[in-house]
Each structure stands twice: as C-alpha cells, then as structure tokens.
Point group: C2
Chain length 191, copies 2
C-alpha cells in the first residue's frame, strides 16, 4: 500500500485524493500554507499553482529528500494567457527537479482537467494520465496508484518530455478558456 | 467549391486528399520534386517532411503568393527522436510563415496520424483537426473543407500556438514509436 501526501486542497488535489483512496491507498492533504505538519507520504504531489511552488519548497526544505515528488502544474503566464513562464526549451518539472536534487521528480496530471480526473472519463474514453520522469520505479509506483484508482496511466518518457506535456496542458487550457472545448472534455488518449 | 493543391504524395497527403474530395472539393497532388506544373489551388498543403520544405519553397518561389499555405510538419530531429529542430520558443509553422510573407500560413493536421485522418476516427471519437493561424478567413476555409469531408475541425488560436501543436505532435510520435500507443490511435479531442 502506498501513502501519498498531497499539498494543495483545490479541485485537482481533491480529484487526485479520490483516485488514491479508491485504489486502496492512503492519502494526507495539506493546505499550501500549512507547513506545521511534516510530510509522511513516500509520494508527494505538488497540487498547487506554479507560482506557489517555490514557497512550498522553501518552507518545507529537506522534507522532499528521498521522496517521489509529482509536479502537476501548468506554468501559464496568467496575465497574458498566451505563453508559459518557464524556459522555452525546458519545463516547470525540470525547474522543480533542479531545486530538489535529492528527490525523484515526475510530471503527471497536468494534461487532464480536474473534472476528467474526478469522473474517470473524457467523453467515451477512460481518462489517461501521462507520466514523465527519469526514474522508472517512481513512474511505475505512480502508475500503479492511478490504475488501482480506475484510470489509465501511460509512461510518457523522460522528464524532459514534461516540456511537451506542459505544451499539451497549455493548449488544452487555451481551448477551454476560449470555449472551443468544455472543461469536462479535452485531450483523450486512444492507446 | 475550393480547389486544393497538395505537395507530397505520402500517407498524409493521400489521407488529406481523400478528405478534400469527399467533401465535394477538388484537389491536385504534386510530388515534392515535381516542380514543372504550377500550383493552381487557392489552398496549398505542404505535405512533405520538414527538411524538404525549404527546397519546395525555393523551387516554387512566388507561387505561394496570395494563397493559404498549410504546414502539416512535425519538425523532429530524426537522428535523436528526442527534440525538435526549430527554435524552442517558435515552430516550423512560424519559420515557414517568415519565408512566405505574402501568404497566409496555417498549421494543421500535425496532431493526427495518417491512419486517423483516413478513417475519420480516433477510437470512439471523430478525428479532430486542430488549426492555428493568424487569419480567421483562412482558418474558416480550411475548417469548412475538413468538416465537409466528415472530420471535425477546431480553431486552436493564433499561429504562435503552432509551438504547442508541434509539441503535441512530437509527444504523440514518441508515444507511438515507443509502442505506448498505436499508430491508429493517439490524442483525440472531446469538445
């Protein structure tokens, strides 16, 4: 059984929490400013907005060592909604990994809207979570939690593929914000 | 009725040609090295691999003026299959648009595999073609041809969104090449 810590209490955090517990695994949720309690999970999900990540890493410095840390962010420029705030040849996940040299960082959940994580469905398709990372065991552990919770998981390759996953997430957000797609739809994966 | 010129005779060119004619529009196909005949279509689809585009633009210099030019490429580094060969903050479509100042350049068809263009289906979903570009009339004309041919089309925004569309295409290609998904599947769009 896995024990998962989720930092954040928004729609994404709630949806991921349900997936974890539905699969028979355990979860603890922390508010993003709630630094009093230590993290006890082996897998930590950073379910806060990208601008809040730095504060979480600073306030909880050292607590991520030895753990699998999952970045779910879409690092949009929220003023323009027209670009990302991370290096064009990189990703938020790689930036975060650079700040957590003693953790195994994964990118996941950023290409699925909260509604499709909660329902397990993107239209007629089962919701598929893409996972990028450089540690195969960490990816397999997260994939196991996701599939136990009733969703599909696909290994999307090395952590550098987070660049492309963040582009997928960004494009999907712009399509929903401009009402070309619904917040209950988006990109589904047909294997 | 629209008249469409397709440069290229591969799987993608054949699939797009079928969509065009199925919708009651007309098409002409040219081999990528067949520069003898002039382009007669109002919409020109560059259905050649990205490294071949420059030669087509040079050999047919001036023939694209005043036309809608559709870039369908995924500009992969085919030696590493691990990066794109265009600027990280740009796209092949924007590079091509820079070389065709008298054309209206669109990005389309690069997020759908040839098989899903040919069948009109990505699993249980109708195949959706994303279209990016800075000219609304040009996008509407292409969308009309696609929907007349039985597929769905979605306006994905300005031409700069081609960066994200090429990331989608790149990720999808790596997933298929690593057998995480099938060449008959990939990303579907649930509106």
């Amino acid at each position: 059984m896995a024990h998962v810590s989720i930092i954040g209490t928004g729609n994404m955090a709630q949806a991921i929490s349900s997936i974890v517990t539905r699969g028979g695994n355990t979860v603890e949720l922390f508010g993003q400013s709630d630094h009093a309690q230590a993290i006890t999970g082996d897998i930590v999900i950073l379910a806060v907005n990208y601008p809040a990540v730095d504060d979480v890493l600073t306030q909880r410095a050292g607590q991520f060592d030895g753990k699998v840390v999952v970045d779910i962010t879409n690092p949009l420029n929220i003023e323009t909604f027209d670009s990302l705030v991370v290096p064009a040849d990189g990703s938020a996940a790689q930036v975060i990994a650079g700040k957590l040299p003693n953790s195994r960082v994964l990118k996941a959940f950023n290409t699925t809207f909260a509604a499709t994580l909660a329902s397990g469905e993107v239209g007629p398709l089962a919701t598929t979570v893409l996972i990028a990372g450089d540690d195969g065991d960490a990816k397999a552990a997260l994939a196991g939690i996701i599939s136990a919770g009733g969703l599909k998981a696909i290994d999307a390759g090395a952590l550098k593929r987070a660049r492309e996953m963040e582009a997928v997430g960004f494009l999907q957000l712009t399509l929903a914000a401009s009402e070309r797609i619904s917040w209950t739809g988006g990109f589904g994966v047909v294997a």
